[in-house]
């Protein structure tokens, strides 16, 4: 229990695990090996982004860092050329400059170079998005997340349903007797998942479109009526990860917080079975009220 502390999501994980995973994967993929191999060995700067607390988020983070580095190079090049032109060619005399208009080799060069850059970025994009969107056939646990105005409903195996109405009950739904801290990371209902294992999320909405967004996971997905989205999250370390609805969903959009509680697998099992007992007891007492709270 004591191991569950809210980690600041921006703190990096140990670089060696990241690196070794990337190296392993790189061997299997011939087409897009360059970036993981080159980048696998070192921690790239994240440029204010999150390192990614899930396996999927890591992949995104590497793409982000690489893209950002390339963008800074382009920014420096183009911005430098503009600045140079402004400084060097400011008016010095009334002489009319040479009235040239075309230079075909240069023009062809600056068509081909961007095309190549864009195709490289596209290659890494496709590789990364396939990693991020991949779903394993054997998730450790399946959770059905339903968004509504204004709150979240989580359905775990064994008819355990946790509903948090963020506008009625904006207080943190703490973990194990309100030990969740810091409070600002614990707003809204907590989605409890096992750390180090894959959680299958099935996401939809009861009314309007909402956004399931966990900043530290580098991931968001719309919760929509009529569309059921399925994705995997593999949270790597136990902790509390603040999260929020990102898609405008009406009056109390700003208050539609939630958070993800990643527990070590044995604690998660214990928590889930206790909830299953509670749910069973509740359903025998009153079949109409099947809603329980995660809070003790």
């Amino acid at each position: 229990m004591a191991s569950v502390v809210a980690v600041s999501p921006r703190d990096g994980e140990s670089s060696s695990t990241v690196a070794s995973r990337w190296r392993r994967r790189a061997f299997g993929l011939v087409a897009v090996t360059a970036l993981p191999v080159i980048l696998g060995g070192c921690q790239l700067p994240t440029f204010y982004g999150y390192r990614g607390s899930t396996k999927q988020g890591h992949d995104e983070s590497l793409l982000w860092s690489g893209t950002m580095i390339a963008s800074i190079v382009v920014l420096a090049l183009v911005g430098g050329l503009i600045t140079w032109s402004i400084i060097r060619y400011r008016k010095k005399s009334d002489e009319i400059p040479r009235q040239f208009q075309y230079h075909i080799p240069i023009e062809i060069t600056y068509i081909i170079v961007p095309v190549v850059m864009v195709l490289i970025l596209f290659g890494f994009t496709v590789y990364t998005e396939n990693q991020v969107d991949a779903v394993t056939p054997t998730p450790a646990v399946k959770v059905h997340v339903t968004a509504f105005q204004w709150g979240w409903k989580y359905q775990y195996p064994g008819k355990v349903t946790v509903t948090g109405v963020t506008t009625e009950d904006p207080d943190p739904i703490g973990l194990n007797g309100g030990q969740c801290a810091p409070a600002v990371d614990c707003l809204g209902p907590g989605l409890v998942v096992p750390a180090g294992q894959t959680t299958r999320i099935t996401l939809d909405s009861q009314d309007v479109i909402h956004g399931f967004y966990v900043p530290a996971f580098n991931f968001s997905r719309y919760a929509q009526p009529g569309v059921t989205n399925v994705f995997d999250l593999t949270v790597e370390h136990a902790g509390i990860y603040r999260a929020q609805c990102t898609q405008l969903c009406g009056l109390y959009h700003s208050l539609m917080f939630f958070h993800v509680v990643a527990l070590p697998p044995n604690q998660f099992r214990a928590w889930l079975s206790s909830q299953q007992h509670l749910a069973q007891a509740a359903s025998t007492v009153s079949s109409s009220n099947s809603t329980t709270k995660a809070a003790a």
């Binding site: 793409l63 060619y89 400059p97 009235q99 230079h103 023009e107 600056y110 009529g226 609805c245």
Partner: protein, 579 residues
């Protein structure tokens, strides 16, 4: 009175175009079909919308300066950002360009006496004005203005979630302005195809005209879809259909598909005209022809074509779109945009640059759009979009793009053509003060928003919790927004001073290139008393500088050797000087 316009022939002064003894005062304003007056109406109306939306933005930023702020209620905040976006996008940025500047400038640039359909043109303006009023009426009805964001995603815009008549007024306002845009586009295309002066071939059109033509095609592609989407939305709200609601088997995704099939071309409908302004202004103040004219034309076409195939990149996180297709097409837009950048740089290269206010605004545009464009390339990659979608990163991105185009380039155009509109100069020092304050405010406002977005601050939130460390950057951003607001005082003061104490500008104060600078300032009714021979895309320059024609053979060391037909232009122009 109908005027059978004759083609003005160069240097034949016996032509008189003083038939114009029409009504004056208010009646003139109501009845004029002159493209210049209609264009001016468009510009004034859209600037009013711009200032209203800007004031709303200041209110929004004031709210966000403190966490858990209660300056505005949630309802008021949601309504204000909805109307801020709607006014800026539907009622300012587009109409200012294709209704205002294009209406005024395009016929002048191609040597036409008016738009092809003057009465349709007037109708366009009245529909635009009606649509604007309809949308603003939302503030007056019970419940306050529409509060579902400028995209009006169903089901949030359906009657269960957005009751009241303000959403209806919003939808009808969009429909009216949509028709206005379609009519204007038809007019612009027809004018460009049929009313060009002799010798003004398609590949001699000024880039502003080219971009307006491409924009008009984009409008014809996109706006009917928007209007259809709005009609269906209205039917869902009132006539019991279930096109966008799951209740009756409808599909909310359909709304997003329809909306963004309009919405993404719309981004380029807002951007291309402003690229055109920049592309016209930079060569003038570099004293050089545009570098890579044809490349610029094809780049514009490529941007427009690709932009219509990328609508679903706004829907990456819906999980139901084909990611690689939309990602690749979106990324490819970077290529023609890059061509434009390098052509702008190539135009300045080895020029004689003078930094008047319009040129300064163009430089400001280059940097703003460079930043906005690069972040746009990032967002075209779905995994990065997953991490930043609907956060302030996206807000900062599209503000850098749209502020770069509609504000920087738009006001570059306003300062550039101001002497043409009124025959008098603005005050240069005030224009430069406007530019520097605007630039400081712009970067101070939007750079912190990138960081806030990467930290996870969602867009369209009326409040945020304390203790997240978001306040400092939000305060910085708010301060920047108010600096932007202050900068516009100098714009208004500039107009006021130049109105009270006019300084005559002359017909061609910039030694500019294109035909509008051959007309008087302001141009007479039906525009031209005479026209110079048109032998390149910059006939006025050729006329005034017959010894410095464009070198079309690009090889190094070529010594001012003009093209054959350009050499011909010199002799014609010489003859003209003697006349």
């Amino acid at each position: 009175m109908t005027v059978l316009a004759d083609r003005p022939v160069a240097h034949e002064h016996e032509h008189e175009h003083e038939h114009h003894e029409g009504p004056t005062g208010l009646l003139k304003w109501l009845t004029s079909t002159d493209h210049k007056l209609i264009g001016m109406n468009y510009m004034v109306t859209s600037l009013v919308m711009f200032f209203l939306a800007g004031l709303m933005a200041l209110a929004l930023r004031a709210q966000l300066a403190t966490p858990n702020s209660s300056l505005l209620s949630f309802q008021a905040y949601n309504a204000l950002f909805t109307m801020h976006g709607s006014l800026m996008l539907y009622l300012f940025a587009g109409p200012f360009a294709f209704g205002g500047l294009a209406n005024y400038i395009l016929p002048l640039q191609i040597g036409a006496p008016d738009m092809a359909f003057p009465r349709l043109n007037a109708l366009s303006y009245w529909l635009y004005l009606s649509g604007s009023i309809t949308m603003l009426l939302g503030f007056l009805v019970a419940g306050g203005a529409a509060a579902y964001g400028w995209v009006a995603y169903a089901p949030l815009s359906l009657v269960q979630f957005a009751p009241g008549s303000a959403p209806d007024l919003w939808i009808l306002g969009i429909a009216l302005t949509g028709f206005s845009a379609i009519f204007t586009a038809v007019n612009l295309v027809t004018t460009t195809f049929y009313l060009r002066a002799p010798g003004m071939t398609m590949f001699r059109l000024p880039i502003f005209t080219w971009n307006m033509l491409v924009t008009a095609i984009l409008i014809l592609i996109a706006f009917p879809i928007l209007t259809a989407a709005m009609v269906l939305l209205f039917a869902d709200r009132h006539f019991g259909t279930h096109i966008y609601s799951t209740a009756g088997g409808g599909s909310p995704i359909l709304y997003q598909n329809l909306f963004w099939f309009f919405g993404h071309p719309e981004v380029y409908i807002l951007a291309l005209p402003y690229f055109g302004i920049v592309t016209d202004v930079i060569p003038v103040f570099s004293k050089k022809p545009l570098f890579g004219y044809k490349g610029m034309v094809f780049a514009t076409m490529a941007i427009a074509a690709l932009s219509t195939g990328v609508w679903a990149h706004h829907m990456f996180t819906t999980g139901v779109v084909l990611l690689p297709f939309f990602s690749l097409l979106s990324l490819l837009i970077a290529v023609p945009t890059g061509i434009k950048f390098f052509n702008w740089i190539g135009t300045m290269w080895r020029g004689q640059l003078t930094f008047t206010t319009p040129m300064l605004f163009c430089i400001g545009f280059l940097f703003a759009f460079l930043m906005g464009g690069l972040t746009g390339v990032m967002l075209a990659s779905p995994p990065i979009d997953f991490a930043t979608h609907d956060t302030y990163f996206v807000v900062a991105h599209f503000h850098q793009v749209l502020f770069g185009t509609a504000v920087y380039a738009g006001f570059a155009g306003l300062y550039y053509w101001y002497p043409k509109f009124y025959g008098r100069m603005y005050r240069e020092w005030m224009g430069k003060t406007h530019f520097w304050l605007l630039t400081i405010g712009f970067w101070v406002t939007f750079i912190p928003q990138y960081v806030l977005g990467l930290w996870g601050m969602p867009r369209r939130v009326a409040s945020y919790p304390a203790n997240l460390g978001w306040q400092t950057l939000n305060v910085v951003s708010t301060v920047g927004a108010f600096i932007i607001g202050i900068s516009f005082v100098f714009l208004l003061a500039n107009f006021w001073v130049s109105w009270r104490k006019p300084i005559p500008a002359g017909d061609n104060p910039w030694d500019a290139h294109t035909l509008e600078w051959f007309a008087t300032s302001p141009p007479v009714h039906h525009n031209f008393e005479k026209l110079p021979p048109i032998r390149s895309e910059r006939p006025v320059w050729d006329y005034h500088h017959p010894d410095d024609l464009t070198i079309t053979h690009g090889g190094a060391g070529a010594n001012g050797k003009g093209h054959d037909h350009l050499a011909g232009a010199a002799t014609v122009a010489d003859a003209g000087d003697k006349a």
